[in-house]
């Protein structure tokens, strides 16, 4: 993507549109930060230690996030939108030959991705120490993946979308398999790769068909070829564009793990290293939703009546199936995977509402953005707790492993309870307002039945959160399965490298099954989950925080079309 940017340097032979570098900073900081990190740690091996890469990644995410502020100020001029993404000096605009768009929406999504990177970097630090792994590769890949996510969200051209998608995904495949000593991790990475590649193939074929139908790969071009354009009969090639849209939708549905394209998610979430799952469930998914929203709400806006039922079907299936299948699980990471499928359904419902031609549109777009932010924080925090509880070897994810957490570490249990209740949509947490906004948007749109179905599915999925809470708070640690735990610990202890520092089993205590990782978690990981819980509560008490930002970003998403 660097090459892509460079295309527009002022040249002699191939004059391109001027690149407004200042608007590209958020993206460039992430991408260049990743490259820089790998270079520095390669040349100066001392820095390959554990603290530097984590600190560097956090700072990079922070810098990228801060660089969004001036960008926002320049871009957030809705009065200058004039119906399309313009090329003036202020307001939403496209850069680099119309390949890259910067508006309130992309700024918001970039911010959310930065949050995800920041929190995950904090989690990774403790995780790598505990597992006796090192190497900056994890962080480099995450920064790369994040930059791909930003690219996907900001793409103004299907080809660039594809580039972004691939950068986003390939890094994530590798991260899933990066715990070299765990076969589960390898398996997860492989599964993720195979199904992700399949999704990419769908996506690419969809681009080809859309190009065939409209003669353009830019979002503006596709939009202009739609029914709104003068002198063009939109329906001449309707089968082609419909097929193209369907394939693109399938590609995205794989990425965001919407039913029935969700089969990889539980396996991958279960096997992949927990902090990586935190990133996959937050950053990667957010980018996928951003790309989906951008392409469908802008380029395919003229065809909204065609694709909206498909989105609705995916959404309702996701909420219900995600909730129901979670009931049969005992592995917490697997349960959370199904819960993230359930959340994906809600976000799809927000997109469904956002496509509404009347006042549901704006509310739907706002709901989507709020949900993305709230969900990112919740899910990163939740998998953060799973990372901590997972213990050395990252294998303690059974429901029984959470037993008695409220005694062994009340803070951690409290944080987890807040995050889980938020995911269930209990009031005064961000999760409630996320769901509420979606329901509100659906009601504005008149889709009451969809709202009702989603709420019932939310109740079904509440069971899974309650089961974890029951394990943490309501079942005594010493009641049963004590022997099982000791056996598991012995295996886990034997499997891990003997000299790696960190956890040792607490022997001969009534809570023998509790690892020191739970009693004394890595401070950075604890900071990350506490931050997540705090943000969840703040967003639950002040969901208007930055309300102007939310509505402007949502307007930008819709006005782009």
């Amino acid at each position: 993507m660097i090459a892509l940017v460079a295309q527009d340097t002022q040249t002699v032979a191939l004059p391109g549109p001027p690149v407004v570098w200042s608007l590209l900073w958020p993206f460039l900081i992430l991408a260049v930060g990743g490259v820089l990190l790998v270079t520095v740690t390669s040349v100066v091996p001392v820095l390959r230690g554990r603290s530097f890469p984590a600190a560097f990644t956090c700072l990079t995410a922070l810098a990228s996030g801060l660089s969004l502020i001036p960008v926002w100020q320049r871009v957030d001029r809705l009065d200058l939108v004039g119906g399309t993404i313009g090329s003036g000096t202020e307001g939403p605009r496209s850069l680099v030959s119309g390949a890259y768009a910067v508006d309130g929406f992309t700024v918001f999504v970039t911010g959310v991705i930065c949050v995800s990177v920041f929190l995950t970097a904090l989690l990774l630090d403790g995780y790598l120490r505990r597992e006796g792994l090192d190497g900056p590769e994890w962080y480099v890949l995450m920064l790369m993946s994040a930059s791909g996510g930003v690219l996907l969200a900001s793409a103004n051209d299907l080809i660039v979308s594809f580039l972004g998608l691939e950068i986003l995904s390939i890094a994530a495949y590798v991260m899933a398999a990066l715990h070299l000593r765990r076969a589960e991790s390898q398996e997860a990475g492989f599964k993720y790769f195979v199904l992700g590649a399949l999704a990419s193939a769908f996506f690419l074929y969809g681009i080809a068909l859309v190009y065939g139908a409209t003669g353009s790969t830019t979002l503006q071009g596709i939009f202009a070829a739609g029914p709104n354009a003068a002198g063009l009969d939109p329906r001449t090639d309707s089968s082609l564009i419909l097929a193209g849209m369907a394939l693109l939708l399938v590609g995205f549905a794989f990425k965001v793990s919407a039913v029935p394209f969700h089969f990889w998610a539980p396996d991958v979430y279960q096997g992949a290293p927990s902090p990586v799952v935190a990133f996959m469930a937050s950053g990667v998914k957010v980018a996928g939703f951003a790309g989906l929203a951008r392409i469908f709400l802008y380029a395919f806006q003229p065809y909204w009546a065609d694709w909206r039922p498909a989105i609705a079907a995916l959404a309702v299936l996701s909420t219900i199936v995600g909730g129901l299948l979670a009931l049969a699980q005992r592995n917490v990471k697997r349960m959370l995977a199904y819960s993230s499928i359930n959340h994906a359904g809600f976000m799809l419902l927000a997109i469904h509402a956002a496509a509404s031609p009347d006042d549901g549109g704006q509310r739907g777009a706002e709901a989507l953005l709020f949900y993305l932010l709230a969900y990112t924080v919740m899910v990163t925090g939740t998998f953060g707790v799973a990372t901590i509880v997972g213990g050395r070897g990252d294998g303690r994810h059974d429901l029984d492993d959470y037993r008695g957490l409220s005694r062994s570490n009340p803070l951690l249990a409290g944080v987890m309870a807040i995050l889980l209740f938020s995911q269930a949509g209990v009031p005064f947490t961000s999760g409630f307002f996320a769901k509420f906004r979606v329901i509100g948007a659906l009601a504005s749109d008149g889709s009451y039945a969809l709202g009702g179905a989603a709420m019932l599915a939310a109740v079904i999925s509440a069971v899974l959160y309650l089961r974890i809470v029951v394990s943490m708070f309501l079942i005594d640690n010493g009641e049963a399965h004590e022997a099982d735990h000791e056996a598991v610990d012995a295996v886990a202890g034997g499997r891990a490298a003997p000299e790696a520092e960190g956890d040792t089993l607490v022997e001969a205590s009534p809570e023998a099954s509790v690892l020191t990782s739970v009693r004394a978690p890595a401070p950075t990981a604890l900071l990350a989950v506490c931050l997540a819980a705090a943000v969840t509560l703040v967003l639950g008490l002040l969901p208007d925080l930055g309300g102007g930002i939310l509505s402007d970003a949502a307007s930008a998403l819709l006005l782009a079309g």
Binding site: I2, A3, A6, Q7, T9, T11, V12, A13, L14, G16, V35, V38, T39, T41, S42, V43, P45, R48, G132, A497, P498, E499
Partner: protein, 167 residues
């Protein structure tokens, strides 16, 4: 359709050339097989058993790295051909591209992908592997690997192994 005709012709020609070459070598080549010629090639040493099933994954790694870097060249070729037209813009693009390729090279070196012998990294991580092992010891061990099960007597094997290292 007509413009694809040369492609078709080339396809046919290529197929014919490959097929005819096989047939021709079958017909015209002199054939004089001996036991030595049929034996697998192993550094000129008489093989004492079947091919070793295991050898360091490093060989694969090097092969893969070669392929990757080789492919990068493919991207440079079109640029070089169109250097005049692309001008400064092309130059900058290619410099960035090359920098990234070089960057990955730096990373590979720092990871020890091109080191021969036990990895610095894995030596630290894996206490089961002796830190005393060096390049020389590893190669000698591999040389002896085929020797120990051989039908030849042990003295000759040791001698030959020694000369192998010296060579």
């Amino acid at each position: 359709m007509a413009q694809y005709l040369p492609v078709l012709a080339l396809l046919v020609l290529a197929g014919l050339f490959a097929g005819l070459s096989f047939v021709a070598s079958k017909i015209f080549a002199p054939r004089n097989p001996t036991a030595e010629k049929l034996a697998p090639y192993e550094c000129g040493i008489t093989p004492g058993r079947d091919l070793p099933e295991r050898f360091p994954v490093r060989f694969y790694l090097v092969a893969m790295l070669f392929v990757i870097f080789d492919i990068e060249i493919v991207f440079l070729y079109p640029w070089a051909v169109n250097y005049q037209e692309l001008g400064l813009f092309g130059l900058v693009s290619v410099l960035i591209f090359s920098a990234l390729v070089f960057e990955s090279f730096v990373y590979l070196i720092s990871k020890g992908a091109l080191d021969w012998g036990p990895l610095q990294v894995s030596r630290r991580q894996d206490p089961m592997r002796s830190a005393d092992r060096t390049t020389a010891s590893t190669v000698r061990r591999v040389g002896q690997d085929g020797r120990t099960v051989t039908v030849l007597d042990a003295g000759v094997a040791a001698e030959e192994a020694g000369s192998g290292v010296a060579a």
